[in-house]
Symmetry: C2
Subunit: 278 residues, 2 copies
Amino acid sequence: MNSIAIIGLGLIGGSIAKAVKNNSDIKVIGFDIDDETLFAAKELGAIDKAWDGHSILVADLIVLAMSPSATIEFLKTKIDSIDKNAVITDVCGVKAAIVSDCIPLCSEHGLEFVGSHPMAGKEFNGFKNSDANLFYNASYIITPVQGTKPQAIDIIKELGRILKFRKLTVTTPENHDRMIAFTSQLPHVLAGSYVRLPPCSEHEGYSAGSYNDVSRVATIDENLWSELFLLNKEEICSEIRGLISNLSEYLVAIENNDKEELKGIIKSGRLIKERDIK
Amino acid sequence: MNSIAIIGLGLIGGSIAKAVKNNSDIKVIGFDIDDETLFAAKELGAIDKAWDGHSILVADLIVLAMSPSATIEFLKTKIDSIDKNAVITDVCGVKAAIVSDCIPLCSEHGLEFVGSHPMAGKEFNGFKNSDANLFYNASYIITPVQGTKPQAIDIIKELGRILKFRKLTVTTPENHDRMIAFTSQLPHVLAGSYVRLPPCSEHEGYSAGSYNDVSRVATIDENLWSELFLLNKEEICSEIRGLISNLSEYLVAIENNDKEELKGIIKSGRLIKERDIK
């Protein structure tokens, strides 16, 4: 791979640009709708060259680092500006909805699209928070479908290695969405539900690590995350319902002063987590 | 203050012993029902002297670093072995239930009891995990009642300073219990409810910081925490109900594809957390 184009230089796109420049000799072409961001990325050496948004975009790999709706919109409006040899990927936190729109769009134009999801982030957005080490120790999930060319998957895997992910996971878009509803979306729903409880405003002086951990990701952007939740509706609703059901088990045991039942519930959680950290 | 006795050398008691030895010239007397722990604490210099459990215990301050039931049991069975000049405190995560038992028990014997709660911990227990720096940057909550002698409160505050807490909070036992239900107990209920969801066993390769943060404290001991939840029944049940209600708001908005409502919910959480970290 000799060149990568990154469309959207926010937290994720900016971090990909910086990591590729840090960890390889690959040429990085960047684009952002915000001119100041594009200028800053060029000045800081995070990209070698800015794309003008109109001329033919030539790169071995094009990474669409935008929200789901902007990713699909970009392909709909700009696909004729993309050189036919490029493999295209995205960074969205949902995969079934993305690949079902993007793969047909791309194949009609002779382009190969492979969905992927860098499982990394921060509670703050934008190029100014981007970081060449964002992906170190994180997981990268690649979601090919039947018919995806092996060479295209290999290019995405190569990106994963350049970004220094700890783990590459290849799975179906549907399994990705089921797992991500639990590992990522539910904690974000939880953080928002938690900080909206009345005592939150008085927590100072009464809080420690547990408070910080549960509330941390409540800072998410409502435009992006409302898209992500709605595009993964069945899976996230299923996890929220499951969590409410589990919380209700604690509630009933405590209300009934049923110490043995309560101990059993706490113990089953402890055993799961202990196996997890072994 | 010239001497402190610590009854129970687990994670909290052991950490208090080590911190007092590290940060002051105060003599530390220790006791634990486990002889090996007591021996290890002496060998490591965490305590100057072991109490034998029978002779008169003489110290300016006695810290009962045990579970609620063991704390009350200790006072019921050993109070005649305590020198009348000692101020007594505990470290329990609930306060109204503790002080309502311990204050009468102590005052009948001419002893002053002041409840307190070091808001620090780890997901692993026992003396082997104790740490002289456990309280650094944490909060210490002191819960006197009407009639508590100011000199006794001053001694507990002095302990807080020696342990290098970032913040000392003085409040009523009832307000402590209300706040702690939100800042500490609810995250523990949550962690257990979360890891008991079916996808948890498959999280490897799909999880990142959010998963780790929410699940971290699921390792709690069921004997201690079933006591703590049941002794703070009304407050923890109220917080669980509130959380279920907030989760249900997300659920309904997502089920109804109501993007504007969903954005409003996410945004209100974001604004609360952003104010919090400013």
